[in-house]
């Protein structure tokens, strides 16, 4: 489904159902150098359980027009503009990694429009090492390989995503390469700098009015669980701990669904 947002085409996957009317809506926001396809199982589940679903491609990622936006704050405004374009008055926001910061910021900017906040594979601050930023700048393919290795906690996560027979590390790597190759400029470095630069997390958390839930991977080497404590306290969030690396939706799709359902019941 395509919308006009801020004068540019924005794409959102609607969970395998036509975009229609309804009170309840869930918006899924992907992380760095990803697209909507990291959410398709969850998106399909909610779309077939009474919700309207928008699993977005961020600007400059996948099917959404660029350029990519320069900050978490700008991306949060873009998400809220997408809700306007889609005619959604209120929605639950579910974000992964970089997407979780966007969801947090959007929830703080429009507390009356966000019914619930779910941050998956999150941390605050989401600092990126100078070494990784340098590799992302100078050798994006190498940086992708490193981040892919950091993001997966094992060699056999079942039942696999999007289904049996899928090799998760290969899928994640191929997706990052596809998004990078389809983008204007070095999107990998851009996204990581956006994460690194976001400094408004605790102030935003203080303004969030809706219930908040964190879903963290106990084996997450990118955004380790200990890096969520201050954020969880500021949000007064409930926390689900799942045995997984940073690629939670791929490594543990059922556990993530169960955790999200604690926050957004169907």
């Amino acid at each position: 489904m395509k919308f006009d947002v801020q004068g540019r085409t924005a794409y959102a996957y609607t969970g395998g159902r036509p975009w229609g009317d309804g009170e309840r809506c869930v918006v899924f926001i992907h992380g760095a150098l990803n697209d909507h396809s990291v959410w398709t199982l969850l998106a399909r589940w909610y779309a077939h359980h009474g919700y309207r679903v928008l699993a977005i491609d961020q600007p400059g990622h996948g099917r959404s027009d660029g350029p990519p936006l320069a900050s978490v704050e700008a991306l949060a405004d873009w998400v809220l503009a997408l809700l306007d374009a889609a005619g959604v008055a209120s929605a639950h926001l579910v974000g992964h990694s970089m997407g979780s910061l966007i969801a947090l910021e959007a929830a703080s900017r429009a507390p009356g429009r966000v019914a619930g906040l779910v941050m998956v594979g999150t941390a605050y601050p989401m600092k990126v090492s100078d070494a990784l930023l340098g590799t992302a700048r100078d050798d994006p393919a190498r940086a992708i390989a490193m981040v892919n290795a950091f993001s997966h906690s094992g060699l056999a996560s079942k039942p696999s995503y999007p289904g049996p027979g899928a090799w998760l590390r290969g899928g994640s790597s191929a997706l990052m390469h596809r998004i990078q190759e389809g983008a204007e400029g070095n999107l990998f470095e851009h996204d990581f700098r956006v994460c690194d630069a976001y400094a408004n997390g605790l102030e935003a958390a203080a303004r969030v009015a809706c219930p908040a839930h964190l879903v963290v991977g106990t084996r997450d080497a990118m955004t380790p669980p200990k890096a969520t404590k201050e954020l969880a306290a500021a949000l007064r969030a409930t926390v689900s701990r799942i045995v997984s690396g940073h690629a939670l939706m791929q490594e543990a799709p059922d556990a993530v669904l169960n955790a999200v359902r604690q926050a957004i019941s169907a």
């Binding site: 399909r44 190498r142 039942p159 899928a166």
Partner: protein, 433 residues
């Protein structure tokens, strides 16, 4: 900066896709010989059928043991996933049927396994899929053969029967200019000798019956996707980028940006054609995969010794092995197959068809049969077996002489194999009288 990477090939060959069984603690992959899997609830069942959850429903579509095999081959190839099939032939058919239909066109190397040639030439044409065959070394011919309805370029990493080395970088570039995938049959090379995706190929399949299994026990195939081709941007593949009525209007490229091909191959191809792999077969091939690096190294080392012996023998007119300078693809092989050119090759015996028969019948260690890639050494004489109806002129047109012998070098001691060959060559020499 140095940093973490995925595990190396030898580690993936043992671990990719498998973990100790959570229910029993079994370290080796269990054989899940069950047709079906119990649903937790009606809601759970519905969500599995509707792809809201990942999981197993029915073993024609997926099975836990088979999935370990699929994930492991995908890992070894550097792909996004794989679909296991009943045979290598079924894997080729699944690749074609997923993205082609009546009115479609394929460009294929003329240097193909006979079974693949039959499928493309005779059987698929009956279903409206036409194939143009080109000489694999004629790069311009690949480009010239592409039509607006072309859906696929297809070749073997090492072609039949002369081990033509497929120039994957150049042929894949031609395919990508046209927005179509290059499919490679990598049976003879296995991912240990060559990973076609790193060279530009988009899809790979194996007859897993051969080196992946390695023990001559089971028949199976596997189809792997690199996840690199943008099917939607190509504009040639509505099977993947337009709503599919057979699955509630699913658009596979929207469901999975990099896994669309495999989604359709499984959700349509295994569902409707049904050429799935038995979990028992998958388990046996997994045993082979665990030692693939060790076996391939030995296969190649043995083949090199045998090739060197045959190339110097007076009864041998010619040996067709790309590591020999006499092979037309010698230079290409050094670039694309630095670890070796496998252990299946042909040589021409000087003499008559009868001498070829005498050679075969004198062999003791080599088994005379129609297979390759076994741990045991194998031999076949095409003029008296697979091509016995052809006269000498027809054989020549197929690139086969009356004395052409195909060997598949196994894992025995190479010196013992050479003793066996030396004895059989003597017998062939005596049969000239």
């Amino acid at each position: 900066m140095p940093g973490p990477s995925d595990p190396s090939f030898d580690t993936l060959a043992l671990h990719a896709g498998a973990a100790p069984d959570p229910a029993t603690g079994a370290r080796a992959t269990p054989i899940h010989l069950t047709t079906s899997f119990v649903f937790e609830s009606s809601e759970h069942a519905a969500s599995l059928f509707n792809m809201e959850r990942a999981g197993h429903v029915y073993s024609r579509i997926s099975n836990p043991t088979t999935a370990v095999f699929e994930e492991r081959v995908a890992a070894l190839e550097g792909g996004v996933g794989a679909v296991a099939t009943a045979s290598g032939q079924a894997a080729l058919h699944l690749a074609v049927a997923t993205i082609a239909g009546a009115g479609s066109h394929i460009v294929a190397s003329a240097a193909l396994y006979g079974g693949s040639h039959n499928l493309l030439s005779y059987t698929l044409s009956r279903f409206g899929i036409e194939t143009t065959f080109v000489k694999p070394r004629d790069i311009d011919a690949w480009r010239a053969a592409i039509r607006p309805n072309t859906r696929l370029l297809f070749g073997e990493s090492l072609g039949n029967p002369g081990l033509d080395v497929l120039d994957i970088p150049r042929v894949s570039a031609i395919a990508h200019e046209a927005g179509v995938p290059l499919l490679v049959d990598a049976t003879f090379t296995t991912p240990w000798l060559q990973q076609p995706f790193k060279l530009g190929a988009d899809l790979v399949f194996h007859s897993a019956t051969k080196f992946l299994s390695g023990h001559g026990t089971v028949v199976g195939g596997v189809l792997v996707d690199s996840g690199r081709l943008d099917w939607e941007r190509s504009g040639r593949f509505p099977e993947l980028s337009a709503p599919y009525a057979g699955f509630h209007g699913m658009v596979f490229t929207e469901e999975s940006t990099v896994g669309a091909f495999l989604l359709r191959a499984r959700r349509e191809g295994l569902r409707d054609f049904g050429a799935c792999m038995s979990p028992h077969t998958a388990w046996l091939i997994l045993q082979g995969l665990e030692t693939l690096p060790l076996r391939m190294e030995r296969h190649v080392a043995n083949a090199r010794k045998v090739v060197r012996f045959l190339a110097e023998h007076p009864m041998v007119a010619q040996v067709g092995y790309p590591e020999l300078e006499s092979h037309p693809d010698h230079a290409l092989a050094k670039t694309l197959l630095p670890r070796g050119c496998g252990s299946v090759f042909s040589f021409d015996l000087r003499g008559s068809r009868a001498q070829g028969v005498a050679f075969i019948e004198a062999l003791q260690l080599f088994s005379h049969l129609a297979n390759v890639g076994d741990c045991r050494s194998l031999v076949i004489h095409p003029a008296s077996t697979t091509h016995f109806r052809m006269d000498d002129a027809a054989l020549a047109a197929a690139g086969i002489g009356p004395g052409t012998i195909r060997l598949s070098i196994g894992l025995e001691d190479a010196d013992d194999l050479i003793v066996d060959l030396k004895s059989a060559l003597k017998a062939a020499e005596r049969a000239a009288a």
